[in-house]
Amino acid sequence: MAAGVQIEAGSVAQALLKTYEYFYDQGWTDGLPVVPPTKEMVEQFVQASGRKANDSIAILPPRSGRATVEVVAINAVMAGCRPEYMPVVIAALDGIADPAFRLNVMQVTTAPSTPFLLINGPVRKQLDINCATGCLGPGWRANATIGRAIRLIMQNVGGAIPGVYSMASFGSPLRYTYVCGENEEENPWTPFHVDKGFGKSDSAVTVFRATNYVNISGGMGVGPDDILRQIATQMPPMDGGGRDAALVLLGVNHAQALHNAGLTKRDVQERLWERAALPVDYFARDFVEMEQRAGKAGLEVIHRTARPDDIYVAVAGGPGPQDVYIAVGGYQTRQIMMG
């Protein structure tokens, strides 16, 4: 970005509008208005990160752009973040820049994949990150702007400019922001980050390579078998490049019902894996061969994932017979170091 851009205007409203127009013309936005990243605000955000302005966080493909703390701060200001969100943005960025996350593919592919951020630990309350009713919808500043900051960084630093480097045929509304906290308070099992080796009092962000959002209404099912069958039958095998997985965000009512029925999280994974399967003759021959090579299909049945371990389970959302299934690739979990 150019340094020291000056915008003159007769009123605050005019200055904001002129900033939006200028930044949009430069190709620095996601199409929505941005907050002007003034020198003072950027400095405030850098300070809130607890890091130095020129600390390098990541080199982002395909343009090999360097995301320093200052650059992250500029984009976080533009996205509408509060300064205290900086450690979350930095931790998530560190996760997506891990080579195992395959950001180099996400940034340029015709598929609409995008990072989904699942946030765990005390930071959810500190920053008012929604993990309950409406957690994947509008209305919460942290959920809306942390994901937006990541997208702006992917675009402005990595160069994932739609139609130029990013060749996503359709793109996705999930690319504006895709963030929620886990509803740990109503999760009858261990939180996701604890399963990954972090302490319950640690704060962590897990970034998933996500391609979709499927809300599964629970229908009339009340027992554990009906609940899991309803979810599994809406998780058909799909072309995920052979190495994909599935994230199931169980709604709190269903999570509690399954727990009360004596099921562990492992039981849920195994039962979903068994039932998220269809006969091979439903599918195109090339697809079946690909899934067989990936270990997801035998001679008669294709499973959604190669193993039960590849169905990740977390708990989110508010009351109601609703669950969410997200097709995901690899994931990375990073601790959030709050100042």
Binding site: R63, S64, V108, V164, Y165
Partner: protein
């Protein structure tokens, strides 16, 4: 190392940007119309044969010649 980029026309601009990032702005390019995913083996082979001349040229021409033609 002599290299030729094989691409469909829809992705040629993207491929050239990638090549520029990697320090090869003048890379020789063999191009075929998009899409190719729907082609059977015979049609795909025909497309490949149509690009052969460009591929051989890209692998055998001098760097100066490639730069001259791509500029």
């Amino acid at each position: 190392m002599p290299t030729v980029m094989i691409t469909t026309d829809a992705f040629n601009g993207f491929g050239r940007l990638q090549a520029r990032i990697k320090g090869c702005p003048h890379i020789a390019t063999a191009e075929t119309p998009n899409p190719i995913r729907n082609l059977d083996r015979a049609s795909l082979r025909q497309r490949a044969e149509q690009m052969l001349e460009t591929i051989v040229w890209g692998l055998t021409a001098s760097p100066e010649e490639i730069v001259r033609r791509r500029s």
